[in-house]
């Protein structure tokens, strides 16, 4: 019995060194040497300033300014509005403001909950109000589901191609670009399925928006 106890303690320690120190350090080392960009989060810089990660979704809303030029706040949170020059990400319900990548959370909205319906209806109304002035034929039936639902991580970096093609009308009009040029940019930043069958194609919102800024100059 005593022998077994000694062996147990030693086994826990030896395996901790092997699987908890040597193995993770080895993998981290491989990451830093062979795939440093990936391992460090695919950081995206504009003019030397870190603007986000290529694969972490972010908000393209902008702070609403008071008359004195300071950002308006309500209940200690900055009030924002959609920035019409940019493609908008999916709705996000992380705590502490949208797209809080320091604390990912599920929204946990039940399929039969009244509160889910209310949130969904609000998203649909906002989307139509934002896009319909530029895409006059737009109806609720054409609004893709990703545009009016929160994602799992609430950090989804992508939107569907259907969603992007609707928003293209607004972005092209505001930026005074031909629609076809914006559409071809969308195609350029649409990723395919894994091995041709796994998952769904999606449009990388940050990369698309940065490409537009490079084309016409943005706020950055």
């Amino acid at each position: 019995m005593r022998r077994e106890i000694v062996t147990s303690i030693l086994a826990v320690l030896v395996i901790t060194v092997l699987c908890g120190i040597l193995y993770p350090l080895f993998i981290a080392g491989v990451g830093q040497v062979a795939f440093p960009g990936n391992a460090n989060g695919q950081k995206v810089y504009v003019n030397g300033r870190l603007v986000g990660s290529k694969i972490i979704g972010q908000s393209f809303r902008r702070p609403v300014l008071e008359k004195n030029g300071k950002p308006k706040e309500e209940e200690e949170e900055i009030v924002t509005e959609a920035d019409p020059r940019y493609f908008q990400s999916r709705p996000s319900a992380t705590e502490g403001g949208e797209y809080n990548a320091a604390a990912s959370t599920f929204s946990n909205r039940g399929p039969n909950n009244k509160s889910t319906e209310e949130a969904d209806a609000e998203y649909l109304k906002e989307y139509l109000e934002r896009e319909k002035p530029y895409d006059t034929g737009l109806t609720a039936a054409a609004v893709p589901v990703d545009a009016v639902s929160t994602s799992a991580s609430n950090l989804d970096p992508q939107i569907s191609k259907a969603n992007a093609l609707i928003q293209a009308h607004r972005v092209a009009a505001v930026r005074r670009l031909p629609l076809s040029q914006v559409e071809s940019l969308i195609s350029k930043y649409t990723s395919g399925r894994g091995l041709g069958f796994s998952g769904e194609p999606g449009v990388d919102v940050l990369e698309l928006n940065l490409a537009l800024d490079r084309l016409t100059g943005g706020s950055a």
């Binding site: 460090n40 990912s104 929204s107 399929p111 990703d146 009016v148 639902s149 950090l155």
Partner: protein, 592 residues
């Protein structure tokens, strides 16, 4: 529903089988002490490890000594992990491994977390990036991801030896099994898997969290960490505890459709391979194929139901005026709580895979699944995770059902039940029956406590609603998941309240933390004891040659009988509870 959606599901099953077959033969060699292609590389480290832990690997153990070693080893792991998570900010933790200065978790939530990782459950009341230091994740949680999975595989190997053995009382040596499992199976696959994930964008670093200034003038803080090394064993060991709160939905854990496929394969490859290993070790591969057929049939049925239900969309979406059909450039369906890059099929498939196994990782919010879609994970758990199941746990639980089916079949045709030439008698049937019934008992008892007491109802989320079907589903799912050592959740259910990141000022919900913690420990180790006792009882039996009257356990008739037994036990036990929650919601368009 789309063609590519169905293609994903079919191709997944094909690729899985193609990988599991050779892995099964490889593992059969590992657990019978034969040379494998890694022996020249790993033989020396293996012998070194036996010397370091001062044990003689060749010494056979009977079932009691095997169980004793396993329990002592798990207890040691429990104590070390508790020490690590309770002293997160102690002096010996280097700053680089706690860059944000997080404090330790409270005693109650730590009890739950530690019990959860030691039992291969990985139920998470805490949220990774706001409570755990890199040190805890790496030196604490990652290690238990390896060893809890390894212990399950050891028990399965021991049971197989008992079933097929002709050597009297011994069922192997636990120390040899656990060392070989880690060195020859888990580590090599983890290293290859982690490198594949790194190449696709899974992060692995020790940086502090990034601060980005976005083009529209907002700031975004982005969590970092040594993710890839833990991500791969989280899947491979059917553990399921995400580095980040949202688990495999997080782009840093699961960046694209390809990694989604890789992670799903990692989850199922060992549970599937173990079935083939059983056939090999029984010297009759058809025994393995029969069980594999049963598992695959039930698995594909579950996936199909989940996919159809999720592609249909939810009542809340329809009431809000959202159209959920497929349009050009959009997959449609219930995309609430799902990621664009995985779509409906990739989400339904992933969450079915991780709930038939004991993995419990998720790439989409199960709480937001439709009533019927959400009933699929619950039904999977209700079947006690024998549809592939966890690493080791799935096979040994399924073999208990096989024993029960052999017994029932024997009674039906009026012959002494025999299994691979060994007579099944009262002792084995009693032990197997108890082993099968403990998990449902633990799940239902805890659910009853959770909904019947005020302290239990405190954990139900505001959105779910204490007296609503969703609130019941949350509670039921929580204890079903913990009792089955799964770890997936209707994540609104809470056992930890944390106003700020880093544990300062946080407190656990003692009732939920302890009830869940004890539930996991009981439902993990009690069945293991019964399984090892069955192994011990069978190991000593004589083998009689099969005759004309022997009931075969490797043909389609037996497979159908086995499905019947699994479904009947699960349905009779859980149907009333399933009716109260998800099925009510699935059958109505009513909103609560």
């Amino acid at each position: 529903m789309t063609v590519s959606g169905w293609a994903t599901i079919i191709l997944f099953a094909v690729i899985l089988t193609a990988l599991a077959l050779p892995l099964g033969s490889y593992m059969a060699k590992v657990y019978t002490g034969q040379r494998v292609f890694l022996t020249p590389l790993l033989g020396r480290p293996e012998r070194l490890m036996y010397r370091l832990v001062r044990t003689d690997p060749e010494q056979g153990q009977d079932w009691k000594r095997y169980a004793g070693s396993l329990l002592l080893f798990s207890l040691g792991g429990w104590l070390l992990l508790y020490l690590i998570v309770r002293t997160q900010n102690a002096f010996y933790v280097p700053h680089a491994l706690n860059p944000l200065g997080y404090k330790s978790g409270t005693w109650n939530v730590s009890f739950n977390t530690v019990s959860s990782f030691v039992t291969n459950t990985n139920w998470q009341y805490y949220s990774g990036e706001t409570t755990m230091t890199y040190f805890s994740q790496m030196v604490g949680l990652t290690v238990q991801n390896f060893v809890s999975a390894g212990a399950g595989i050891c028990v399965a190997a021991a049971l197989i030896r008992g079933i097929v053995g002709r050597s009297g009382k011994t069922i192997g040596n636990f120390w040899q099994d656990i060392v070989r499992t880690i060195l020859y199976v888990l580590l090599p696959i983890s290293i290859v898997g982690a490198i594949i994930l790194l190449s696709q964008g899974v992060i692995d670093n020790f940086s502090t969290y990034l601060t980005a200034h976005t083009v529209t003038g907002l700031t975004q803080t982005i969590a970092m960490g040594p993710v890839a090394s833990q991500e791969v064993i989280k899947e491979l060991g059917t553990n399921g505890g995400g580095f980040f709160n949202v688990n495999s939905a997080h782009p840093f854990e699961n960046p694209n459709g390809f990694t989604n496929l890789v992670e799903m394969l990692l989850v199922l490859v060992i549970p599937a391979a173990l079935v083939f290993m059983y056939g090999r070790m029984a010297r009759n591969r058809k025994q393995g194929y029969a069980i594999y057929g049963v598992m695959m049939f039930m698995f594909l049925g579950a996936v199909a139901v989940a996919y159809v239900a999720e592609a249909h969309g939810s009542p809340a979406q329809h009431a809000a005026g959202i159209h959920t059909h497929v349009i050009s450039g959009s997959t449609g369906g219930n995309l609430e709580g799902k990621e664009q890059r995985f779509g409906i099929a990739g989400s339904a498939l992933f969450d079915t895979i991780t709930t038939v196994t004991s993995c419990g990782a998720v790439n989409s919010a199960i709480e937001s699944f439709t009533g019927i879609g959400g009933a699929v994970p619950m039904a999977n758990l209700s079947a006690s995770e024998v549809i592939f199941g966890g690493t080791g746990t799935g096979l040994y639980s399924m073999l208990l059902y096989v024993l029960l089916a052999v017994f029932i079949g024997g009674l039906m045709v009026g012959r002494t039940p025999e299994w691979l030439g060994k007579k099944i008698e009262a002792r084995e049937v009693k032990l197997a029956g108890l082993g099968i019934l403990i998990t449902p008992l633990a799940a239902l008892f805890a659910t009853a406590m959770g909904v019947a007491t005020k302290a239990g109802r405190a954990s139900i989320s505001e959105l779910g609603g204490v007296h609503k079907p969703q609130g019941f589903s949350e509670t039921f799912y929580a204890y079903l998941s913990q009792a089955n050592n799964n770890g997936s959740a209707f994540a609104g259910y809470t056992g930890y309240i944390q106003p700020n990141a880093g544990n300062a000022g946080a407190h656990g919900v003692t009732f939920a933390d302890l009830l869940g913690g004890f539930d996991m420990l009981f439902a993990r180790f009690a069945p293991i004891l019964f399984v090892l006792a069955v192994a011990g009882a069978l190991a000593g039996k004589k083998v009689s040659p099969a005759g004309l009257g022997t009931m075969r356990t490797d043909n389609p008739t037996f497979a159908v009988l086995l499905i019947g037994v699994v479904v009947l036990v699960g349905a009779l036990t859980f149907f009333p509870a399933l009716l109260l929650g998800p099925i009510v919601q699935g059958l109505t368009g009513h909103l609560y």
